[in-house]
Symmetry: C2
Subunit: 276 residues, 2 copies
């Protein structure tokens, strides 16, 4: 179901060369339920960009978040910056009500066609068995109606099973470090692809909440995702860390691994810490 929502809610209609129209839905709204998740909007823009580039996968894609988007129609204009042998560089503007909300630049290619050396010194994040993790949506369902913080709409699109130490902040016991990790798939399962990974890269609660800093809106300034290969079916493992907050400027670095134990995505965003 969530996967079908994803396919429908990131669909774009091609109106003309470099002109697309999509429709942002409320199913992907974030904390506060005021605006869609940044990864969701990036995935929609990436669908338009892949079409423009004539290449299936965002190999590296950077989004600058300029203004919040509301549920409703968005227009996406795209340009080819440079067509290369393996990578085509493209750019998009996502516009709503005549205001640009998202600027995206990326290099698109076919991840199945890359060849070259392999060397892996990372290991997938060590996670407890899924039965021993906290289901974010189950926790949310058990909260009283007047709870100040509840999982946002976007969380319900995923099965998110988080490691208990990294979500201690949900019960007022932050671990003291900026990390959140867990298992992830579309709610109820379903095939994951390159575009879905862009949402996964921004779908977990902010890692900075584990630090013990104020909990609140952590606006993304810029998000860059590198994809390495298309994910195998099954549960993803993901880990996000924030190690350095400087006068409110923070990074969040993510790793996403597929069920076959392959690194499928690296992400980094620059965000602004929540205000006390």
């Amino acid at each position: 179901m969530a996967h079908a929502h994803f396919v429908a809610d990131t669909h774009v209609d091609r109106l003309a060369d470099g002109r697309y129209r999509g429709r942002a839905t409320e199913r992907w709204h974030v904390f506060g339920d005021a605006a869609p998740n940044g990864g969701y909007l990036l995935a929609m823009a990436a669908r338009a960009l892949a079409d423009t580039a004539g290449q299936p996968d965002p190999v590296t894609v950077t989004a600058h978040y300029l203004r919040p988007v509301g549920a409703g129609t968005v227009e996406i204009t795209t340009d080819v910056v440079k067509t290369g042998r393996r990578l085509t560089t493209v750019q998009a503007s996502l516009v709503q009500d005549d205001q640009e909300c998202l600027r995206v630049v990326g290099a698109f290619g076919d991840l199945d066609r890359f060849d070259g050396p392999d060397h892996q010194d990372r290991t997938p994040p060590p996670l407890p068995l899924r039965d021993h993790c906290l289901d974010l949506n189950a926790v949310g369902a058990a909260l009283p109606d007047d709870a100040p913080l509840r999982p946002p709409a976007v969380a319900a699109q995923f099965d998110l099973l988080l490691t208990p130490p990294t979500v201690g902040w949900m019960t007022g016991q932050p671990a003291g470090r900026g990390e959140i990790a867990g298992w992830c798939r579309w709610a109820g399962g379903g095939p994951m692809d390159s575009f879905g990974l862009l949402v996964v890269a921004d779908a977990f609660p902010p890692a900075v909440f584990g630090m013990g800093l104020p909990i609140g809106w952590v606006p993304t300034v810029e998000l860059t995702v590198h994809l390495r290969q298309r994910p195998a079916d099954g549960w993803l493992r993901a880990r996000f860390t924030t190690d350095s907050v400087t006068r409110g400027l923070l990074e969040e670095d993510g790793e996403v691994w597929d069920a076959d134990g392959n690194l499928v995505a690296l992400s980094r965003q620059l965000a602004l810490a929540a205000r006390a």
Copy 2:
């Protein structure tokens, strides 16, 4: 001297609103001495962007490298994407001989005016005393004239004192992991600033050389640098790591610390591994 070169060689003349002209020099050429260092070109574009934004610092800046640039005149065209309260988002195209070579998007602000929480869980890379490091340029000067690999022009713009284990590959003894770390300043010293940090973020030999993979040209597809604060005078400490190479796609993550022990920059690039 190197600092004066940097100031002169990244200078841009403003020709009109959003139009600048600069001159790439051979002093910043990389391995093979065929084209300037990507960080140097980014610094030149960032000077034009800072002028356009009316903001002094690149807080986050992403460059896509499209074509090599030769020594000589370049034109930079810039646009304001969005003017914000603290950050202004801007975009640049760097063009030579009517071909776009570099596309840049970034958010510029005044790093001295940010306020918000601080939290630091990183520590500066542990480096040996400078006397115990290998001076890249001294090593290069001692090489025979027909050595296959020698430090490129850009190295001579810096005093680069590298930790011996991370440059074992220079003598055919790679450490087996993708890391390079050391001390860094302009050759002979001189003030470092936000634009200089963009060069530092791309000035060390590729970390991937430590893995034992083939040594050769490692083209950058995309480089993103986050600046956290302006650097204090004195020696910088920097560390670059590559942990995952997937069919030739690799990341290089960098941290740069100033002489006061402050994290001043985080960088990440997507690059292509050298071919055997």
